[in-house]
């Protein structure tokens, strides 16, 4: 047995085991950690397929960012494990059926006439060529326009998210010392020019006694 074949079975076995533990682990934190392990092994499988860019992206994006966030959420939430596990065995047949259907569907597509594996032969990279480099080259030359467009879409997402969630609170009583120091007379006091008024009791038109 070649060494790479051995590695494939090792990665695949550990991945299947940890994927199974994700849904059977009693503690949600353990489940998330098993998911991390599953991702690591999937990355290993991709490395064996010479798809090192995908492998690195999986570890950096999913393990590094998404799963850490997941872990925080799971730790912060007060999860009732008993309620979570309730009905596990009742729902198992349904879940297993859906899983089986998905496997059958994938098998039909991959062995089928239109998108079967025989229609798409494996692309073998020449020695010394890495697909990270190839992707980088193509992304910043031929596909720079879609790349930039995707970044504009992300910018729109940021603007929209800020617009929809940012609220300036009106009920805070905080003070800004800089504003207080910088205040000018004209901000506080308004001097109005008007004719002078003298108070004389004799001008009372009704002729009554002044109060």
């Amino acid at each position: 047995m070649e060494f790479t074949t051995f590695l494939f079975y090792l990665f695949a076995a550990v991945m299947l085991f940890s994927a199974l533990r994700v849904i059977t682990a009693r503690n949600p934190v353990h489940a998330v950690l098993f998911l991390v392990l599953a991702f690591f092994n999937a990355a290993g499988l991709w490395l064996l397929l010479q798809a090192e860019f995908l492998a690195i992206a999986l570890i950096m994006v999913y393990v590094g960012a998404v799963m850490v966030l997941f872990l925080f959420v799971v730790m912060m939430l007060d999860i009732n494990i008993e309620r979570l596990r309730h009905g596990f065995w009742e729902h198992l047949p349904l879940g297993a059926t859906i899983g089986a259907i998905m496997v059958v569907e994938m098998a039909t597509v991959l062995t089928g006439k239109y998108f079967g594996l025989s229609n798409f032969p494996a692309h073998v990279l020449p020695v010394g060529e890495s697909n990270t480099k190839a992707l980088a080259r193509i992304l910043f030359t031929d596909y720079v326009y879609p790349f930039e467009l995707a970044s504009v879409i992300l910018l729109v997402a940021i603007i929209a998210a800020v617009m929809l969630t940012l609220r300036q609170r009106k009920d805070t009583k905080g003070m800004r010392p800089s504003d207080q120091v910088a205040v000018k007379r004209s901000d506080r006091l308004r001097i109005v020019a008007m004719a002078s008024e003298s108070e004389s009791p004799a001008t009372d038109s009704k002729g009554g006694a002044p109060l």
Partner: protein, 493 residues
Amino acid sequence: MLNNFVIPDFYPVAPEIFLLAMSFIILFADLLFSATQRWVASTLTTITLLGCAALTVITADGQTTLTLSNLFVDDLLADFLKLMTYLSVVMVLIYGRQYLVERGLDKGEFYLLVLYATLGMMVMISAASLLTLYLGLELMSLALYALVAIDRDSARATEAAMKYFVLGALASGLLLYGMSMIYGATGNLDIADISQVLYQGQADKTVLVFGLVFIVAGIAFKLGVVPFHMWIPDVYHGAPTVVTMLIGSAPKFAAFAMALRLLVYALFPLVAEWQQMLLIMAVLSIGLGNLAAIAQKNIKRMLAYSAISHMGFMLLGLTSGVIGHEIDPFTAINAYSSALYYTVAYVLMSLGSFAMVLLLSRAGHEAEQLDDFKGLNQRSPWFAAMMLIFMLSMAGIPFFIGFFAKFSVLTAAITAGHVTIAVVAVMFSLVGAFYYLRIIKLMYFDAPAETAPLIATPTFRILLSLNGIAVAAFGLFPDAIMAICTAVLLHSL
């Protein structure tokens, strides 16, 4: 690979680059000036759009130029549609200014999102690859979803935004799935390459037609035709009127461009299949749109259903390009230019009608009910006359632009042999005339419910008057726009 890469020609992309650069300037200018000078963002946005128009005119050379690794196309059709897009967006901004100020929505983000939506439309209009088409669509849609929800305190707007977002995401998924099928069958994303592979007849037809169904569904959703119209009434009703006006105008050009690029440029060899699908949707839209509009008490919903029926008419033009199995370029160009003409006419009328809704609204009062139009003639005879023009034109009564739009589409349909369908369409537009005429009856023969004078800035009044006069004048001289539409398509197809 690196050695044979040449720096692409950025000249045809100048309007897009200018708009993007200006949007960054506005982003920062708004931070600096938003507290004191509210007009900065809106003025800069208008200047940006005018600058884009100037650049589009300068770079228009009548040639079909592919650039940026064949992902971007600059042809006469793109230039024309872009100019119409700028025009309608600028009109929306001018019409909506006072409405936004009165409701505290006059924020820099509004103008930025409008600019990015415009950029998305421009990218769609100039797309030469499925990839850029899809990215442009997402850019436009994402900005529009956020714009619908811009009035955060309105539960109705939030609900509308949610519906729009979920259904829009679903439609994008359908479209993307269809595109992936086309890619799987042809091995190409470039529109020109796809059609070349199809003409050579190498691709598997089953996969192609399977993908085509999803692509047509995606286009139908963006145009808002039956059976993918569910979002239109709720979004038109729920969104702030300015945003409704925006959704009801400029994106129609982008959706038209998307339909043309995907169906005519890329998948023309499958014309027999997609023509049939579009035909069914066109008839259903004209029927359901006109019937459902009668039952509406809210003018925004009524205009939404009328939009569905108008888009059905536009599709009727797109379905009439090819008769039987013979492809005659002149029939095809006539049919597609009638669809283009219909889109232009519809957007002009739609802008005017929503502007009338804005005119009757004021702070704290949305003139959304049909009853708000009661006795408008006594309050302002001139604007009642404008509304009369828009409604008669939408109903397709001669001699307004809407009549000639319907006329050219129906001529194309009859030339293509769809006589029965043309008769059905005319019958339903007669049914539709009822609800347009009802507004005219309310304006001229009912006593006004309120007598408050109409408040509008002089710019608004002038623009609305020009809009009404344009609808009437292009109805008297329809040949001008029709000639432009035909010439544009003749040079681009």
